[in-house]
Structure formats: structure tokens, C-alpha cells
């Protein structure tokens, strides 16, 4: 037994010894000493063992004494080398087999070579609540204005009017270098400023324009700031353009534009002067795009539309023969550290001509359809002048602002209508609106006191309409209106501890309105209105806010209001007094969910009362064949319950932005609007009857920028469902509209500054149902837009724009249109020479149809012919 034990021990010992020998044979180690020419050891030298295939088998670096040690689990294959490299010294390689322990390796000094300095700016940078988009990372050589670049920024949307949306909400301020020079009319900046002058676009999330309310009042809107390049500041920059051309009908085309901007740290001036008959309208440039600056109107301000005989879905520049002119001056000057004085003034003149035919088929239930077929030659001509003066002191503890605005709008529209008769219609509206807003907020410690006073006077001394049939008077109507409103608000709030905030707002609103009209017709007799009266409304609104940090906030507001109204009909001496007490509610919750998703939920109940229009009981004409009775003698009361949500995810590092919005609203109205159609006239009225409506809106927007492809992808889907009652021939019908929109867009610059393109597609199916009539109409609308730009050489650009639309109705009526535009631009130093063309297919008519309720409308517009324009632009 003992012998067996000895044998076993001996075998085990032999096995262990063999194993050790084998292990020793497999492991490889090498070491060395790296020195420079003078024999000084080099620290931090990179030493690598590289296999015959080029793979790294082991690596190390030298210590302070220049020593290194390499080891691998297996001996390196034949052909392996040890590479010794150090910046500023020439690299040395020795076969691994030649490396002896503590071998001294000398590196020779060599020129220190680094690649040309590379400065990289991140395309999207985030600092706190500020997103900074680097303009150079997103712009392409074909981008003419900063708006073209803003459209490409993931997370930012720009609509056709120029309104900028971030996180699904329209922005609440637009700044250039931190100053608001354009006072809400920011398209004048975005549609003119060159991307050459802008280094970055900042988005200020949750922007609170009043510093005094920072960290107190939550804002769900963002602001945009343009950061100028240093080279473009302290000197005038801009461009002047002149052009001439012709169209296929032999008409001359012209364009002249001047844009200049001067930006200094304490002062900014922006000037435009423009004119053209090339199809460009300037009203979008000078129009206000921020909702809180919207001007007031009187009961007659918008009685007559500019295009009462139809508009087309395609841009007006395709069917309006225009003569447009515009001039504007915008200045802002800093007053001290926190103050500013801003003055803006503009004038726009739009004189348009168009010809279209309309065919309307009204569904009257069991009655046979009644329709209108006519051809209309329209000449809407509107002029508008605006002045805005704003003095502001926006300090961390005190905000005081006074804003005065004047707006004069003058519309003089003429129409020639050809059906079975030869009718001329002329409408004229002169409208003046004066507004003054004084706003003050003072913060003392944890207490905030605010006072706001809005005073507005809108007068419409002329709102006239006349129509003749083959020279003899059919209709002569005169109208006028005056509106005087005051809105005084004061609020006081204070902090309750660290997280809670409590306060109350007191609001007093007064409205005085007057409306007069009288018409004489050839066949339908005469009628007049002379109504005036007032509304006084007092609202007390307690509010509470709980904000325990930055990830959650709750705000509750309970407005309780008392309204006293009295409107008098001076023709009948009837008086309509009314008193209402109402309590509303608004609850807002904002939170940050996991994955940094920002979410908000707003629940509310609102009651809205009508006004003077409810007591205008005699009809007024809006066109020669459309009569409307605005009121029924009963105060309109609209009660609404709404739930709104917004969920927002953004990842600026990977340039992904996702927004979901939802709105559900139930409304109760104490009246229904309806229409009665006869062979010669459409008469709209309102009837006293309960009307329940419900509306659902859902939207999802996903944007992703793939930097490596220089491409931004956007997918936008939308659902809208609306259910309400209408009257037709005195009978009530429930109308249900459901529409979907799927919009996909790609904006790409795949071959840097050589090829750029954008492709967008919309698919918009919609269904309208009136169950009681057995009506179900569906419309499928598809639209595609494509634009491409090629730079065969850097200074030359060839571009094209394609537009395609296909609309099909349930009745198998399908309309299709296709337009092509193209041009060439040559850039030589500060000059741009451009030849552009529109409507290359020379398509001369455009037809489209749609349903409203159960009525079918079909319009055909004469289009501008193929046309060319050669321009010379000088940029300074």
C-alpha cells in the first residue's frame, strides 16, 4: 500500500513538473529601456507587440525611468515586431525575437507632426435649458435665408406662414443677440437674414420673457435666439436685389428688394423695402406670429373676406397676379442694463388679380340639390400700416413695460361675377386699431405683485358692400363699428415655504361695442342694425403652485367671474341685459418621467360668453348672394371641458426629438349655426338650441438627424375628429368629421455642398358623416414636394422644385396637378446672378374639390403662366 502511495506521489510530481515546464514555454515576456539621443530616459513612450497580421498582441508604456515590460500568454509568432512610438520621435520597430531583457532602445527626435488644426463644433449642444444648433452643421450651399436652415433643425418645425414651433408649440419670443427687434413679426428676420451672418440658433426651452418671474411662473413655450457671427456685427449687413423677366403672355415681370440690418451690442436696426409682381406676397413677412400680440378687432373688421368666392389649396403665388410693395423699419435700443426701447413700423400694399370659377352643390336632405355656378374675376387690394412702440425694463426684481400699437387696415376689393347675370361687387373696409398695454411686475423677496392694463380702441368707420347687375344696383350696404376694450389685471402672490406658491389675480374687463349697418336691395327689401352695449366682467382667480424641485410642478387656478352685459337695439328700443356668475378651473401638471421625458397634463373648464354679435338681429350681406344674421337675441354661452397633454423626449447627443400631443374637448353651446339655401341666395343664421360638440386631436412628431448622412428625417402624424350639430333648411344634423394626416420629410445634404435635396409627402384621408342624411363623404388627398439643388462647381447652383397633388373624392372625382420650377444661380464674390422659372409645365388651370358638411365645392383657378425672372443680388 505504501509502495502504491509512493508511486502515485512520484507520478503527480512528474505531471506537475511537466506542466510547469509547459507553462513556462508558452508565456512570453520582454522588457526594455527607451532613451533619447542624449541617453535620457523617455517616459510615456507607447510600446506595442504586433503580430504578423498587424493585430496588437500586447501593449505598454514606459515609466519614469524609460522602462517597459511586455508580456503575452503565448510566445509571439514568427514575424511579430515590437513597435516603439512616441510623438516627436521617429518610430522604431524591432523583431520580437530580438528583444532582449532590458534592451536599450534609442529613439531619434523627429519633427512633431500633428494634422492641421481641426476645430469641431457639435451640431447640437445643450447647456441647461438652452439648445444651441450650430448653423454650419446644418446649412447647405443652397440655403438662402436662415429660415431654410431652421427648417432643417431636428425638433423645430416651420409652417408655410413662417411660424416656428418647438416641442409642438409655437415659440413665444424671437430674439437676435438677445434683443427682440421685430416685435413678434419674426418672419421679417427669418425670411431675410442670410445664414452667412449667423453662427448658431439657440432654443431657450420653457422661456419666461419676464426675468422677475423666472423660477416662479412656468412657461411651456420656447424662444429662439439668433447668434450673429462677430464679422457681421457692428456694420450694416444685408442684400439688395433687382430683377426683370417676362411670362408666356408677354407681361413684364420685375422685382426689387432691399434688406439691411445693423447689430451692435446695445442697438439693432433692421430695414426692408421691397416690391414685385413675381408672385411674392409680403404680408407673411410683416404679420404678427406670436399669439399674445394679436390685435383686437371690431364687429365689422372682418365682415367681408378678401376671397369670398374661393381660395385654392396651392400657394396664392400660383394664381394671384400680384403687385406687392412693402417697407419696414425695426429698431431696438438698450436703455441701461435692463431697459430697452423698441420701435417698429411697416407698410404693405398687396394688389392682386385672379380669375376662378366655382361650382357649389348644396345638399338639402330630401330637397333636390341647389347649386351655384359662376366665374369670378377678383381684384382684392389691401393696404396695411402698423406702428409699434415698446419701452421695457426687464430686471430680475422689477418688470415694467408699455407697448403702444397702431394698425390701419384698408381693403378695397372688386369682383366681376358672371353666371346667368353680369354682376359687379365692391367691398371696402377701413379699420383702425389702437392698443396700449402697460405691464408691471415687482418682486420683493418671496412676494410678487403684478399689474397689467390693456386698452384697445378699434374703429371701422367704413365697411361697405355694393353690387350691380349689368349696371343697375342690386345691393347697397353700409356698415360701421366701434370697439373699446379695457382689461385690467392685478395679481399678488407669495411663497409658502420652499416649494409652494400661493396667490390671487383680480381681473376687470370692460367692452363697449357699437355696430351699425343698413342695406337696400333690389329684390330682398331693406334691413338695418343699430346696436350698442357693454360687457363688464370681474374675475377673481386664486391660484396655487407646488414645485418641489425641477422634476414636478402642479398649478391650480380657479377663476370665478361675474359678468354684467347690456346691449340695446336702437331701432326697436329693445334692451338685452344679462348677468352671469361662473366658476372655471385649470389644473396644470408638469413632470419629468424616466428617460428624461417631459410630460404635461392640463385639465380645464371654461365658460365663454358672446357679445354684441348675439344682438345683431337683422341680416347683413357678406357677398351679393350671401346673407348672414349674426345673432338670435340670446346671449351665446359656450361651456368647454378640455384635457390636454404633451409628452416630449429629446436626446440632443443623438439628435432625436419626439413629441406627442393630445387634446380632448367637450363643448356645450346654447345655439346652433345653420344655413338656408334658395336658388338665389344662401342665408346663414343662428338658432337658440343646445349643441353639444366633441373634439379629439392627437399628434405625434418624430425627428432624427443623422449627422453622418447630413440628413434630418421627420415623421408627423395627426388625427382630428370633430362632432357637432348644424342646421340646414331649419333641420338639425349631426356632422362628424374625421381626418388623418401622415407627413414624412427628408432634408438632406448627402454630398456636402454638392447635392442637397428635400422630399416631403402628405397623405390626408378624411371622412365626413351625416348619419341622418345617410351621407358619407371621403376625400383622399396626397401631396408631394421635392426640391433639389446641385452645385457642379462651388459657385454655380442648379435647382428644381416639384409639386404634385392628387385629390380623390368618394364620387370618383379625382383631380391631379403637377408643377415644376427650376433655376440657375451663379455666385461671384458678393454677387448672385440668378435665372429662375416657375410653372415650367405651363399648366393654366387648377381644379380642386372638397366637402363641407354635405356640400360639394369645386373651384377652378386660372394659373400664372410659365414665367422667368433674371435677378442680380448684391450682398453686403
Amino acid at each position: 500500500m505504501k509502495t502504491i502511495s509512493h508511486i502515485s506521489t512520484a507520478i503527480l510530481t512528474v505531471i506537475l513538473l511537466l506542466s510547469a515546464i509547459r507553462c513556462h514555454a508558452a508565456q512570453w515576456q520582454g522588457s526594455g529601456l527607451v532613451v533619447d539621443n542624449s541617453g535620457e530616459p523617455l517616459a510615456g513612450v507607447v510600446v506595442k507587440l504586433i503580430g504578423p497580421g498587424g493585430s496588437t498582441l500586447a501593449f505598454s508604456s514606459t515609466d519614469g525611468k524609460g522602462r517597459f515590460r511586455l508580456s503575452t500568454a503565448t510566445a509571439p509568432a514568427k514575424g511579430s515586431v515590437v513597435r516603439i512610438a512616441y510623438l516627436g520621435f521617429s518610430t522604431k520597430e524591432i523583431p520580437a525575437t530580438e528583444l532582449r531583457d532590458d534592451m536599450k532602445i534609442t529613439l531619434d527626435e523627429a519633427p512633431l507632426e500633428l494634422k492641421e488644426v481641426v476645430v469641431k463644433v457639435p451640431p447640437i449642444k445643450m447647456t441647461g435649458d438652452t439648445l444651441t444648433y450650430d448653423v454650419a452643421s446644418f446649412r447647405g450651399a443652397a440655403d438662402r435665408t436662415i429660415e431654410d436652415v431652421i427648417k432643417k433643425l431636428p425638433g423645430v418645425e416651420v409652417n408655410d406662414k413662417g411660424t416656428i414651433y418647438y416641442n409642438g408649440e409655437a415659440i413665444n419670443r424671437f430674439y437676435i443677440e438677445g434683443l427682440d427687434v421685430v416685435s413678434g413679426r419674426y418672419a421679417i428676420a427669418t425670411k431675410n437674414i442670410s445664414p452667412d451672418d449667423i453662427i448658431s440658433v439657440n432654443v431657450y426651452e420653457n422661456h419666461q420673457p419676464k426675468r422677475v418671474l423666472k423660477d416662479i411662473a412656468f412657461s411651456d413655450r420656447a424662444a429662439i435666439n439668433l447668434k450673429m457671427k462677430k464679422k457681421s456685427m457692428l456694420k450694416p449687413v444685408g442684400h439688395v436685389t433687382g430683377g426683370a423677366g417676362a411670362d408666356d403672355d408677354g407681361n413684364a415681370k420685375w422685382l426689387g428688394e432691399l434688406f439691411s440690418m445693423f447689430v451692435a451690442p446695445k442697438m439693432q436696426v433692421l430695414v426692408t423695402g421691397k416690391g414685385n409682381n413675381w408672385g411674392k406676397s409680403y404680408t407673411t413677412e410683416t404679420g404678427n406670429l406670436i399669439s399674445e400680440f394679436t390685435a383686437k378687432s371690431s364687429a365689422a373688421s372682418t365682415l367681408y373676406g378678401d376671397t369670398p368666392f374661393g381660395t385654392a389649396k396651392i400657394p396664392a403665388e400660383r394664381y394671384f397676379d400680384n403687385t406687392s410693395a412693402s417697407a419696414s423699419v425695426n429698431t431696438v435700443r438698450k436703455l441701461g442694463e435692463f431697459g430697452k426701447l423698441g420701435i417698429t413700423a411697416d407698410y404693405t400694399d398687396e394688389d392682386n388679380r385672379t380669375v376662378n370659377s366655382e361650382s357649389i352643390s348644396y345638399n338639402n336632405g330630401s330637397d333636390p340639390d341647389i347649386g351655384f355656378n359662376e366665374t369670378v374675376r377678383s381684384r382684392p387690394h389691401s393696404r396695411e400700416a402698423k406702428l409699434n412702440i415698446n419701452v421695457e425694463h426687464n430686471a430680475p426684481r422689477r418688470y415694467i413695460s408699455d407697448k403702444f400699437t397702431f394698425k390701419g387696415h384698408f381693403a378695397d376689393n372688386r369682383y366681376s361675377i358672371f353666371n346667368t347675370r353680369d354682376i359687379s361687387q365692391h367691398s371696402r373696409t377701413d379699420d383702425y386699431a389702437f392698443t396700449n398695454t402697460l405691464d408691471a411686475t415687482i418682486r420683493t423677496g418671496n412676494r410678487v405683485l403684478s399689474v397689467k392694463s390693456d386698452i384697445a380702441v378699434t374703429t371701422t368707420p367704413t365697411a361697405d358692400l355694393s353690387a350691380t347687375d349689368a349696371g343697375s344696383t342690386m345691393l347697397r350696404q353700409k356698415g360701421s363699428a366701434l370697439s373699446f376694450t379695457t382689461d385690467e389685471k392685478t395679481g399678488y402672490s407669495w411663497m409658502l415655504g420652499e416649494y409652494s406658491h400661493i396667490g390671487a389675480n383680480l381681473r376687470f374687463e370692460s367692452v363697449y361695442d357699437r355696430f351699425r349697418s343698413t342695406y337696400i336691395t333690389e329684390t330682398a327689401g331693406n334691413a338695418s342694425n343699430n346696436v350698442s352695449g357693454y360687457t363688464l366682467k370681474t374675475t377673481i382667480e386664486p391660484e396655487y403652485q407646488f414645485k418641489p424641485g425641477t422634476r414636478f410642478s402642479l398649478k391650480v387656478q380657479i377663476p370665478v367671474s361675474y359678468s354684467a352685459l347690456d346691449y340695446d337695439n336702437h331701432l326697436t328700443s329693445a334692451s338685452y341685459p344679462a348677468h352671469r356668475v361662473d366658476a372655471g378651473a385649470r389644473i396644470g401638471i408638469h413632470g419629468v418621467l424616466p428617460l428624461n421625458i417631459k410630460a404635461s397634463l392640463t385639465l380645464g373648464r371654461q365658460m365663454t360668453l358672446g357679445g354684441i354679435k348675439d344682438f345683431i338681429l337683422n341680416p347683413v350681406y357678406t357677398t351679393y348672394r350671401q346673407r348672414t344674421t349674426l345673432g338670435s337675441g340670446l346671449l351665446n354661452e359656450r361651456e368647454g371641458y378640455s384635457a390636454m397633454t404633451n409628452v416630449f423626449y429629446k436626446n440632443p447627443i443623438h439628435a432625436v426629438f419626439i413629441t406627442f400631443t393630445g387634446l380632448y374637448r367637450i363643448g356645450h353651446n346654447n345655439r346652433i349655426s345653420g344655413s338656408t339655401v334658395t336658388p338665389g341666395e344662401v342665408s346663414t343664421t343662428v338658432e337658440n338650441s343646445g349643441n353639444k360638440s366633441d373634439m379629439l386631436n392627437l399628434g405625434l412628431n418624430i425627428a432624427k438627424n443623422v449627422r453622418a448622412w447630413r440628413t434630418t428625417f421627420t415623421l408627423d402624424t395627426h388625427l382630428e375628429r370633430l362632432k357637432r350639430k348644424v342646421l340646414r333648411q331649419k333641420l338639425p344634423y349631426t356632422v362628424e368629421n374625421t381626418s388623418y394626416t401622415i407627413h414624412a420629410a427628408i432634408r438632406s445634404n448627402p454630398v456636402a455642398n454638392v447635392l442637397e435635396f428635400s422630399a416631403e409627402g402628405w397623405y390626408r384621408p378624411s371622412v365626413q358623416k351625416i348619419k341622418s342624411l345617410g351621407v358619407r363623404n371621403s376625400v383622399n388627398d396626397m401631396e408631394g414636394r421635392f426640391s433639389a439643388s446641385v452645385h457642379p462647381v462651388k459657385s454655380v447652383e442648379l435647382y428644381t422644385q416639384l409639386y404634385w397633388n392628387h385629390t380623390s373624392l368618394a364620387s370618383d372625382v379625382a383631380k391631379e396637378s403637377f408643377f415644376i420650377g427650376a433655376g440657375i444661380r451663379c455666385h461671384i464674390r458678393r454677387f448672385d446672378i440668378e435665372l429662375s422659372s416657375k410653372n415650367l409645365t405651363n399648366c393654366r388651370t387648377y381644379t380642386y374639390s372638397y366637402f363641407t358638411d354635405a356640400d360639394l365645392y369645386t373651384y377652378t383657378f386660372n394659373l400664372r403662366p410659365i414665367e422667368f425672372l433674371a435677378t442680380l443680388k448684391y450682398t453686403f
Partner: protein, 285 residues
């Protein structure tokens, strides 16, 4: 030294230093006091510099900040610090050799986006690392062995700042790091405490995407570097410092409570609140 300390305290605590603040200043006679470029304890002279963009996300505040940092590399040592401070020092040395008013310097700090973060001196020759950082009014310094990263090389590549990079991964003090280094610059160094790869590290990102560093500029240089000279530096060990920094960043009000230097409002109440500051440490062991 007291000037710099005051500057750093104002910059790190002032609520006036909001993102869009146009002005930052102090009132009183100190506003016009002349200040001068800081003296440094020269550790080595750089032969190259690399500027990194550092994006930090704080999941508690749900905020993301971007700052720039610079690695100055010498033959024996390297220095890693805020790039705003580097730029500010350069401007003062060149444009204000005779001194600069305190308030003007404050403005300069704001314009240069000065951050009062830690400074790291790697002593390659002696395999040491020193971290120097100010918390409130005091300056602390800890030393440790040059950290060892257990890198695994991968086949993934990327181009960073024009250099072809290879990816390596390692777990270090509570975070999983993906880094990209370039063998085109054979220097064993990188931002922050990173080292131990056969090339300069140009990009690093942790697996939670809370820290992302990426080189934006690489250039030659010849400039002495080192910690700012100071007579009163409190030695400390790494873990104690990290613990203290966390306490300071999460509740500065309590941290300075009781300090005779803690600023007060005119009514005598503490001027520093208990609000959590932007904070997300790179090491959390």
C-alpha cells in the same frame, strides 16, 4: 489667491450667473480692485494640447451641461483643467499685463465660460496623479497612484477630430467606459484620469451616457503648466474629498453652515440656499 477664491465662489454659487445673464458684477470697493494673472507652480512644459468638449448629464436635475476642458501634455507630466480658465489666463497675460479690475475679470470669466472644476496633474515619470479643487473657500488636494484601467481592445473604429481611432472598454470606479484612442498620436494619455492605451484618447463615453468627452481641437504648444501657486492647500484622500464634494454640491447651504465666511443677506440670514447644484461625478466608488 483670495481674489481667485472669491471669483470661484461667485461663479460657482451665484444665481446671477444664469444661462443668459448678460451682466455679472459685484458692488462696492472690491469691484475696482486690480487683479493679476495667477502664479503657477511649474510642473512641466507642454509640447501639445488637446481641447475636449465634455457633455455632462445630471439625471437628478434633468439638465445637461456642456463645457470644454484642456489636456496639456509635457514629456514628464500632463495637466487637465477647465478650458475657460486657460483662456481667461491667456487673455489676462496678453491683454492685461498690468492687471485687470475685479469686475472686468468677473465679466471675462463669464464670457470665457469659466468653470471651477478640479484640475488633474498626471506625473507620468513617477506614476502619480494629483487632483486640486476648490470647495467653497477652501482648496483641497489629493494624490494617488496613476490609476490602472483594465482595458479591453475592440475592433470598432471611429474618426475623431480627423484621427482614426480604435475603441477600448474598461470598468473604472463605478462606470463602464467606452473610449476611442488614436495610434496616430502615440502618447499614453487622455482626458481626466484616463491613461494606459497605446495612443491618445480622443473620445470617451460612459454606458449611461452621462459623461461624454470628445476632442475638438488638437494643437502643438510650448507652454509651462501646473497648479496655481497657493500657500494654504488642505491635503486630503480621494474618497474623503469625493464624499465632501457630494455633500457640498447636493446641499451647499448646509455645507457652509457655521462657517464664519458663509455669506449672509442684509437681514443676517444665509445667502446660500439648500438647493442641489448641478452634479454628476465621474467616479462613484
Amino acid at each position: 489667491m483670495i481674489v481667485k477664491t472669491t471669483l470661484l465662489v461667485i461663479l460657482s454659487l451665484s444665481s446671477a450667473l444664469s444661462l443668459r445673464a448678460q451682466q455679472i458684477s459685484i458692488e462696492g470697493e472690491g469691484a475696482d480692485m486690480m487683479t493679476y494673472p495667477e502664479k503657477i507652480e511649474v510642473a512641466d512644459t507642454s509640447y501639445m494640447e488637446c481641447v475636449y468638449m465634455h457633455i455632462i448629464h445630471d439625471p437628478v436635475l434633468n439638465k445637461t451641461n456642456t463645457q470644454h476642458e484642456i489636456l496639456e501634455i509635457g514629456r514628464l507630466k500632463s495637466y487637465y483643467a477647465d478650458y475657460g480658465a486657460y483662456r481667461q489666463d491667456s487673455v489676462i497675460r496678453v491683454d492685461y499685463p498690468d492687471g485687470i479690475r475685479f469686475n472686468d475679470r468677473l465679466q471675462l470669466c463669464y464670457r470665457m465660460n469659466y468653470k471651477s472644476g478640479g484640475k488633474i496633474l498626471k506625473d507620468i515619470a513617477n506614476n502619480k496623479l494629483a487632483n486640486d479643487e476648490q470647495l467653497f473657500m477652501d482648496r483641497y488636494r489629493y494624490e494617488e497612484e496613476l490609476p490602472h484601467f483594465d482595458w479591453s481592445l475592440t475592433e470598432d473604429t471611429d474618426i475623431v477630430c480627423g484621427y482614426k481611432c480604435q475603441k477600448a472598454v474598461a470598468t473604472f470606479r463605478g462606470r463602464d467606459w467606452n473610449v476611442w484612442y488614436t495610434e496616430e498620436i502615440p502618447v499614453d494619455n487622455g482626458p481626466w484620469k484616463f491613461n494606459g492605451l497605446p495612443g491618445l484618447i480622443l473620445k470617451a463615453e460612459d454606458s449611461k451616457h452621462e459623461h461624454r468627452l470628445e476632442a475638438v481641437q488638437i494643437r502643438k504648444s510650448s507652454k509651462p503648466f501646473g497648479f496655481t501657486a497657493g500657500s494654504f492647500i488642505i491635503p486630503i484622500d480621494r474618497k474623503s474629498f469625493n464624499k465632501m464634494k457630494k455633500e457640498y454640491k447636493t446641499d451647499a447651504g448646509s455645507f457652509v453652515n457655521g462657517s464664519p465666511l458663509a455669506p449672509t443677506k442684509t437681514d443676517g440670514t444665509p445667502a446660500i440656499d439648500h438647493r442641489r447644484r448641478f452634479f454628476n461625478p465621474m467616479e462613484s466608488d
